[in-house]
């Protein structure tokens, strides 16, 4: 693979996707510490919100240590060069949250939908574009449909005004060929001035391989997470990915040595749950299940005396999508009933 001379914008997820393994308990001070260190290492874009995006604070997903607004007001003013992004999942967050984020100085809004449901994002993407934000459409669980079907959804978001479209491997299920065909299809058919991005999960340890495939297929932006702190087995570990990219001659604008220190000295010690490809994360990747379900399934398994891998496989069989965390306790109760009946 020859990527010599390519440029890519790397986007750090530790303070948003990383909120899942931290059970949304990162404090505003911790967010400021990590974000300023990432900024100093040259990371250009950093996502900050509840793990389930703006408005995610809930019984269903978990109540965070601070509100989205508190996090954003703490972090944004401390940035020298890095820009801050926020995630918004329609159905959970609303345009009111979007206006709040804009008011806090958020630069990039990423509007996320299940990969087949792009038309629920119209009002949010239209508003983001109208406020002249960097407006990104984020198609989750993209392994579930074909490249052509994804293109159709991406074109809807492009039509609403998104200037960048993401293939999001929420389950960490994809293999490099899956990424190549999906990113490639978008790159080929979307407007040339619209960027394409890839968001991976490391559940099958394919985060780096998949991200390289994405760049080769034309991705302009790639997500990763310092120390890999993200849902499931985490996101593409950013410091390792930067090392690989620099070996291959890809420009990132990031100081790899500083980034390694952020991972080792700041983020690893913060982790309350050790993010790794344990059997549950592997199950997510293997069965194609939304990565954020991980800790919820572990908790339900403990509470009802079940195996978490069994719960996750059942959630995959039921074709659950992102956001259906409420199904986990329901499925566990069903399994417990079925077990008692046997």
């Amino acid at each position: 693979m020859n990527l010599e001379g390519k440029k890519v914008t790397l986007h750090d997820m530790s303070l948003r996707d990383g909120m899942h393994p931290q059970r949304h308990q990162l404090t505003a001070a911790q967010m400021v510490e990590v974000a300023t260190a990432l900024d100093a290492a040259g990371v250009p874009l950093i996502e900050v919100t509840h793990g389930d995006g703006l408005g995610g604070a809930s019984v269903n997903y978990g109540f965070p240590a601070a509100s989205d607004e508190e996090y954003l007001r703490a972090v944004v003013p401390k940035m020298n060069n890095a820009k801050i992004s926020a995630l918004l999942i329609p159905g959970i967050g609303t345009v009111d949250h979007l206006r709040m984020a804009h008011d806090c100085g958020v630069h990039t809004i990423r509007v996320a939908t299940h990969c087949t449901e792009a038309d629920v994002s119209e009002q949010h993407i239209v508003l983001g574009a109208k406020m002249e934000m960097d407006t990104v459409g984020f198609l989750m669980m993209a392994h579930m449909i074909s490249p052509d079907a994804l293109l159709e959804q991406a074109q809807l978001m492009q039509g609403y005004g998104a200037n960048c479209l993401y293939i999001t491997d929420s389950a960490g299920y994809m293999l490099p060929d899956d990424v190549t065909s999906r990113v490639g299809r978008l790159r080929e058919k979307l407007d040339p001035d619209v960027e394409v991005g890839f968001h991976g999960h490391h559940n099958l340890h394919m985060g780096i391989a998949n991200s390289l495939a994405a760049i080769e297929a034309g991705a302009d932006r790639v997500d990763g997470s310092v120390a890999g702190m993200g849902a499931g087995a985490g996101n593409t570990p950013l410091e390792a990915f930067v090392a690989v990219l620099h070996r291959m001659g890809v420009e990132t604008g990031i100081d790899m040595w500083k980034l390694m220190d952020v991972a080792e000295d700041i983020v690893y010690p913060m982790m309350t749950h050790k993010v790794r490809a344990d059997r549950d994360s592997l199950t997510l990747g293997y069965a194609g299940v939304y990565s954020s379900f991980l800790l919820h399934a572990k908790r339900a398994a403990d509470k009802y005396g079940l195996k978490s891998t069994d719960i996750l496989v059942e959630l995959g069989r039921l074709k659950t999508v992102g956001g259906q965390e409420d199904m986990i306790e329901d499925v566990a109760l069903d399994m417990k009933k079925a077990g008692a009946a046997e």
Binding site: N60, G91, E329
Partner: protein, 298 residues
């Protein structure tokens, strides 16, 4: 023998048509007009086959006939954007309106919780909140009538096929209106609503999860009994309303896991989210009709 109260259905789409099927079975209401905006509308054709008068010129097309045909009740199954003007027009003739759109210009009505109160106040316009609201607010109320609820949260999951373009284009309206209904009718001090659209095939039956955080320790026995009664009340008009799991008690959290299967009149059974709206809309209209009959008899 009292005569049935005449009613008009505004909106000839899926909701309007399903409502028509249900209204044709009513003992107190007779649907006489179906109002659409598209001459090619399948819903209008079907209504005509059932013997209704139809117009494709919107409420303007209905206006000259309201008094002559004694239309006293109307349902609006169009969209939030046109509801206000639809309502203004029929209100001039004293028509009582049941609003199935999320416009919410009138007070919220969730039949097993506050229908009698609404009818008692003779409101000209009542709003049916949202499908998620109809499916979940009764359960929030089943807890709040036992003890104070600090926070109520509902998660409604519907199949892709049952989420129409109106809902999709204005999904924020759903979350906002439902959350407000959880507070105002459900009795939670603070409400939150989440909606998930799932494209699985075959389409999944509507699912709803309700979490209540009570101020004090949940009174388990009383809540279990209150919830059982509430489910029975809803089942009177939506037989497929089922408490699948729960209530789960975990500290101050009380959780219910519901499934809502529709009657399958016009809409498929999985679309319990749409069925519960049309069924609630009809139930509301029937109580209003009985009140009109009583007033006329007096």
């Amino acid at each position: 023998m009292t005569t049935k109260v005449k009613a008009a259905i505004i909106g000839s789409g899926n909701i309007g048509t399903d409502l028509l099927y249900k209204a044709l079975r009513s003992d107190v209401i007779e649907p006489v007009w179906m109002v659409g905006i598209d001459p090619e509308s399948e819903g209008l054709k079907r209504a005509k086959e059932f013997g209704l008068k139809t117009t494709y010129e919107g409420v303007k097309g209905l206006e000259p006939h309201i008094e002559a045909d004694k239309v006293q009740i109307a349902w609006d199954a169009t969209s939030a954007y046109v509801h206000q003007s639809n309502n203004d027009l029929v209100a001039k003739y004293g028509v009582r309106m049941i609003d199935l759109t999320p416009a919410a210009i009138g007070p919220f009505c969730v039949p097993p919780v506050n229908l009698r109160e609404m009818v008692g106040r003779s409101e000209q316009n009542v709003n049916m909140v949202t499908c998620g609201g109809q499916a979940t607010i009764p359960m929030v109320a089943s807890v709040s009538r036992v003890q104070p609820v600090e926070y109520g949260e509902i998660i409604a999951t519907v199949s892709s096929k049952s989420a129409g373009p109106g809902t999709r284009r204005n999904i924020d309206e759903f979350t906002r209106t439902t959350a407000r209904g959880v507070e105002v009718v459900g009795g939670a001090k603070r409400g939150k609503a989440i909606i998930i659209i799932n494209p699985a095939e075959p389409p999944l039956i509507m699912r709803d999860t309700i979490h209540c955080l009570t101020v004090d320790t949940p009174k388990q026995e009383e809540i279990i009994e209150s919830a059982r009664q509430m489910v029975e009340e809803v089942q009177k008009y939506v037989p497929g309303y089922t408490l699948k799991n729960g209530p789960v008690f975990d500290g101050n959290r009380v959780s219910f896991f519901m499934e809502v299967e529709g009657l399958g009149d016009f809409l498929p059974k999985y679309a319990g989210n749409l069925d519960i709206m049309t069924a609630a809309g009809l139930r509301t209209a029937e109580l209003i009709a009985e009140e009109i009959q009583r007033a006329e008899a007096a």
